[in-house]
């Protein structure tokens, strides 16, 4: 029976080739536009570190004075940590792993004569960073807590930077020059590039290139290396030669790893208690209950990484798809009902309502499948054009298998849904009435 309906549907579609083509084109355009934007949204709100993200948390304290200016356009100053608070959290050791970090750009001066100095982005961090995030190493190792405490001049390089600086030779044990200081290379990381770069400060491009180097945080502070990212200070007297180690400037990010629900609630309580204690000491002025603990995905959602334009574009695409669907419903309806006499004959000869319904649903499903295939092509084209954009997220806009399948499912679903109403109307055509009139 199915192949018979298929045959009927194909015949009917062939009878109006132009109309069929236009319907396929309409659904293809609608699906293509929607899937392009849904894919962009999908890659932008994906899990940056699958398998580990459930155990990673971002604590939040509110050390700002109560009268701290609230500029709606400035980044949230309390999203970052002061040195004092970050160190307190690290030393309290209440989580499985905990690390404080900050981004920095340093002038790399290659020893080769033919290479110009260049800036590289990297991270200053404490040693738990590597074990907590499961950073893969190509060779060498991360620095130890002792080296961190001793402000050791050591560095871990990314594979890319190591290739650039040492060429084919091994980098481990070599000295490299960053700015005005030499550092001994102790490790080289393998490719590791979570997207978005969840652990960095949210004022930068979170969909940026991976970090090129990693330095001990205490070393960076000791050498007063420049920090990139938001730095908000409310220090009254800037007599201290480095505001960064004071308790009145936020510039660090802190991540913790917690294994289970008890640890999470315990840590949340610990943050509130810590805030209350700091408030009692007079350091904090805002309510202790401002302290929060975000899950990784919760933190990303809180940062709202998807730009307004992308959301607008998504709505535009969805609206477009909707109009295309309405269009197809109307066209199919007119088309099916024009065949009322044919339906009447089939009904008179014994076809049930169900048979008619299935027959016409198959016809609309064929349009849907063809439209879906076209939509895939259009979406690939759309994603290609997104990749040409200058934005940091652009190069991520790739379709994966799950998106590929959802495109086809969406197209099929949309067209069967669009065909449902016309098919239902068609199957209600009474068997004999139309035979009489003609």
């Amino acid at each position: 029976m199915f192949s018979y309906y298929l045959n009927l549907a194909l015949r009917s579609l062939k009878r109006n080739p132009v109309l069929t083509a236009l319907m396929v084109l309409a659904i293809g355009l609608g699906i293509g536009a929607s899937m392009t934007m849904i894919t962009v949204l999908h890659v932008m709100s994906g899990d940056p570190i699958p398998g580990r993200s459930a155990q990673l948390f971002y604590p939040h304290l509110d050390p700002l004075p109560s009268n701290y200016g609230n500029n709606p356009h400035a980044p949230d100053a309390s999203a970052d940590f002061t040195w004092v608070d970050a160190m307190a959290l690290l030393q309290a050791h209440r989580a499985e792993h905990q690390a404080a970090m900050s981004g920095g750009a340093l002038l790399v001066r290659p020893s080769q004569m033919d290479l110009q100095p260049f800036y590289a982005d990297g991270r200053y961090t404490t040693p738990d960073f590597f074990s907590m995030f499961g950073m893969p190493f190509m060779s060498g190792r991360a620095w130890s807590q002792q080296e961190e405490d001793a402000k050791a001049r050591v560095v871990v390089l990314s594979n890319d930077l190591a290739q650039k600086l040492c060429g084919g030779k091994t980098c481990i044990g070599q000295e490299v020059r960053f700015g005005d200081n030499d550092f001994r290379v102790i490790g080289i990381t393998d490719n590791w590039n979570p997207q978005p770069q969840f652990y960095s400060d949210d004022t930068g491009d979170l969909f940026s290139d991976p970090d090129q180097f990693f330095l001990p945080l205490s070393t960076a502070v000791d050498l007063k290396l420049g920090v990139s990212g938001n730095q908000s200070s409310w220090c009254k007297n800037s007599s201290t030669d480095d505001e960064r180690t004071s308790g009145c400037m936020t510039w660090l990010q802190v991540w913790v790893q917690l294994k289970n629900q008890e640890q999470v609630s315990a840590y949340r309580q610990f943050l509130v208690n810590y805030s209350a204690q700091q408030k009692a000491l007079g350091r904090f002025q805002r309510p202790a209950t401002n302290a929060k603990l975000y899950s990784l995905m919760g933190w990303l959602a809180h940062q709202n990484l998807v730009p307004t334009d992308i959301k607008l574009q998504l709505w535009l695409a969805v609206g477009f798809l909707f109009v295309c669907m309405v269009n197809i419903v109307a066209l199919l309806l007119a088309k099916f009902l024009r065949r009322s006499s044919e339906i009447s004959v089939r009904r008179a000869m014994g076809a049930g309502q169900r048979d008619i319904f299935i027959q016409f649903s198959i016809e609309s499903a064929i349009i849907g499948l063809a439209g879906g295939a076209l939509g895939l092509g259009i979406a690939e084209l759309g994603l290609w054009s997104v990749r040409q954009r200058p934005d940091d997220y652009a190069r991520l806009a790739q379709m994966d298998v799950s998106m590929l399948l959802s495109t086809l499912v969406l197209a099929l679903f949309a067209s069967v849904l669009a065909g449902m109403l016309p098919a239902w109307r068609a199957c209600r055509v009474p068997p004999a009435s139309l035979l009489k009139t003609q």
Binding site: A33, G319, F320, V326, N327, L331, L333, P390
Partner: protein
């Protein structure tokens, strides 16, 4: 032509007619808002910066020796740049701030001392304080940028100071944009007034007609900016060069070569024409304009397709009736007008719903995204566009209907 028979005929296709109206309404709402957004973005992209844009080039250079005297290096650099053939003038600007390059630094400015004291007391800027963007540079900045003075004067050579960390060395005069002048001193002439910056008075000596901010935000504040006579003193230098439009690429190349020759221990971070800065700033808007245009044309195309498709079906379905009408005396024109009027009725109903929907959509967008209120004249424009589209889409099927011969009536279809 009477409307009554058309309506009763449409009653037979209630569902289809409704769907067509729904489609037209949605198209109308989306097209109306999309065109509004397109016009908005185009206006944004074309905002004048106040600079002689097509004559400007920018080079930023970082001295990586660090220990050297930045001011001396800068003076030497400028001397070399000014001597280059084709360069009409050159200057170094502070903080690398230029209109539309996103390097913004801003300071609170209050109209009078009382306003400033009140703002400090309340820890909130009062109604007479604003936060304009600040620009500053070496002597020659004004001419190199090509600003247009509308009132007052430019800076005198002895008014320039060198940037330093000490707040005590703040400049005492400034030039402000006309929009800032109107905001601070709506009633009086701004030239000669003393505005308060960081608690110190700064004399307004001149007013320029336009000076766009490095970073655009609200349309009303886009031109809030001021120019200070402060020479930068930093290893990170940004030089602006003015030359004839056609010389820019050549001048840039020569300038980079000359700077590198003078001091090879530097990194040239940026070398571009001002046009590139504007292009980069608005790249996203240009993409968005393209997308909106594509969706508007796509929607109109699909809707026209729907109208033509449905009309073709209806014409085929009614061939016999058309034949009968022709046989009893209707002219070709009557048949043509019948379909045109029918389409007009459907499209008009769709538009009526569509315009309501357009306003609702705009209000929703305003609530969630930073989008201004829809201007009323977009409504009649989109109505006219859809009417024309409908008539255009119906023309072919209607002509086909009109060409049905009266003989058809006698045939058994």
């Amino acid at each position: 032509m009477r409307i009554h028979p058309i309506i009763s005929s449409l009653r037979h296709h209630r569902l289809t007619t409704f769907l067509l109206m729904l489609q037209i309404a949605c198209t109308c709402a989306i097209v109306c808002n999309a065109v509004f957004l397109i016009v908005n973005r185009i206006e944004q992209v074309n905002l004048p910066s106040g600079l002689a844009e097509n004559q400007l080039s920018v080079i930023s250079s970082e001295d990586i020796r660090k220990d050297d005297n930045a001011e001396a290096q800068q003076a030497a650099d400028l001397a070399v740049l000014r001597a280059l053939p084709g360069v009409q003038s050159a200057a170094a600007i502070m903080n690398g701030s230029l209109p539309l390059n996103r390097n913004s630094s801003s300071t609170f400015v209050c109209a009078t001392q009382e306003d400033f004291q009140k703002a400090v007391q309340d820890n909130a800027p009062g109604p007479h304080c604003v936060e304009p963007s600040e620009y500053a540079g070496t002597p020659g900045t004004f001419t190199t940028l090509g600003l247009h003075l509308v009132e007052g004067r430019q800076f005198e050579p002895d008014e320039y100071i060198t940037e330093s960390l000490q707040q005590a060395d703040a400049p005492t005069v400034m030039i402000i944009s006309r929009s800032l002048a109107q905001r601070l001193y709506p009633e009086q002439d701004a030239v000669g007034q003393s505005a308060y910056v960081n608690g110190k008075p700064m004399h307004v000596v001149g007013i320029v007609d336009h000076l766009l901010r490095p970073y655009l935000d609200k349309p009303a504040t886009n031109y809030y900016s001021m120019l200070w006579p402060v020479s930068p003193n930093s290893a990170d230098a940004m030089y602006i060069l003015r030359s004839a439009s056609q010389d820019r690429q050549q001048v840039l190349k020569a300038a980079v070569a000359a700077l590198n020759k003078l001091n090879p221990e530097r990194l040239i971070q940026e070398q571009k024409t001002y046009d590139q800065i504007r292009h980069t700033y608005f790249q996203r808007d240009v993409t968005m304009i393209g997308l909106l245009l594509a969706s508007v044309s796509g929607l109109l195309f699909v809707t026209a397709l729907g109208i033509t498709g449905l009309a073709s079906f209806w014409v085929q379905q009614r061939t016999k009736q058309i034949g009968i009408r022709r046989a009893i005396g209707a002219t070709r024109g009557d048949i043509l007008h019948y379909f045109q009027l029918e389409n007009f009725l459907i499209v008009s109903t769709g538009i009526a719903f569509g315009l309501t929907l357009a306003v609702a959509l705009n209000l929703t967008l305003m609530r969630y995204y930073e989008i201004p209120r829809l201007s009323w004249f977009y409504l009649p424009i989109s109505a006219v566009v859809l009417w024309l589209l409908g008539q255009l889409a119906i023309l072919n099927p209607a002509l086909r209907a009109a060409s049905v011969s009266p003989v058809t009536a006698t045939r058994n279809v």
